[in-house]
């Protein structure tokens, strides 16, 4: 029966925990209004998020909630490290207007372009 669980002999102190961060998977779109960035951080809630802007770099960090796990692992695939990823920003982005939303482990960042660079129509009088 045990064989189907595919547990590899692994020491109790998991090697994966020594690695500080894992890189979240992201989708990035550009629209006329700006960029949308979605990052997958399962196990992270609003309180565990850290978003830092420095110059034209944005750093996303997601701290996992401390999961209370009673019992011993039989089979583990999840990396329990925190998430981190850094992106360079388009200078056209109005950094003052960046907004973030966290829903079921997916962070959605909305990065609007500043009015100056948005395509616009010029009215002819």
């Amino acid at each position: 029966m045990k064989a189907t669980v595919q547990t590899e002999p692994r020491p109790a102190t998991d090697a994966r925990q020594e690695r500080e961060f894992v890189s979240p998977e992201v989708n990035i779109f550009e629209t006329k209004e700006g960029y949308v960035l979605e990052a997958e951080m399962p196990g992270v809630n609003k309180e565990g998020l850290e978003i830092m802007l420095e110059g034209n770099e944005i750093t996303l960090i997601g701290h996992r909630k401390n999961e209370v796990v009673t019992g011993s692992p039989l089979f583990r695939e999840r990396a329990l490290a925190d998430y981190r990823r850094i992106f360079e920003l388009d200078p056209a982005i109005d950094t003052a207007k960046i907004t973030a939303k966290m829903e079921q482990g997916v962070l959605t960042l909305t990065l609007p372009k500043s009015e100056r660079v948005k395509p616009r129509k010029i009215k002819v009088d």
């Binding site: 997958e40 951080m41 196990g43 019992g71 011993s72 850094i86």
Partner: protein, 156 residues
């Protein structure tokens, strides 16, 4: 007329975007940070979406945790059949960005299924599942017969 149409705003043409520069840097980061995660990613490309799954056990219960970010409860199916637990569902791609230019598409959309053979019998009617922060947690109480027993032996 030609020169007018060819002209580009300098700031737009010089910015490398979320493109190559970030790419290279990410890839280097990745090489150092998570060689194993990369392997997992490669196998994902071949087999679709394989959400990461953990299985724990204590005296009374088995616990299964699956990472399913960005879904709704309705999109997740959990079923138990003769000692094997199946978690399946479909993550639908959102249509709202269809006219957008895609810079990165690392997230997987579509169907997934994971099946785990449980190491001990469980009480099917008492299984509970909870979905929070993109993690599905299933608690499966062991049947009375499967629980370790403590027998007091009177030593005379």
């Amino acid at each position: 007329m030609n020169s007018l149409t060819r002209w580009q705003r300098p700031e737009l043409s010089t910015w490398p975007g979320f493109g190559r520069l970030t790419d290279l840097r990410d890839e280097i980061d990745r090489l150092f940070e998570s060689p194993l995660a990369d392997l997992a990613r490669t196998s994902q490309l071949l087999s679709g979406w394989t959400p990461a799954l953990d299985l724990y056990e204590d005296k009374d219960n088995l616990f299964v945790k699956v990472e399913l970010p960005g879904m709704t409860r309705e999109e997740i199916d959990v079923s138990l059949h003769e000692g094997s637990l199946s978690i399946s569902g479909e993550r639908k791609s959102e249509q709202k960005h269809q006219d957008a230019e895609v810079y990165r598409a690392e997230r997987f959309f579509g169907r997934f299924q994971r099946t785990v053979t449980l190491p001990t019998p469980v009480a099917a009617e008492k299984v509970k599942a909870q979905y929070q922060d993109g993690v599905l947690t299933i608690t499966l109480p062991k049947t009375e017969e499967a629980k370790p027993k403590h027998i007091d032996v009177n030593v005379s």
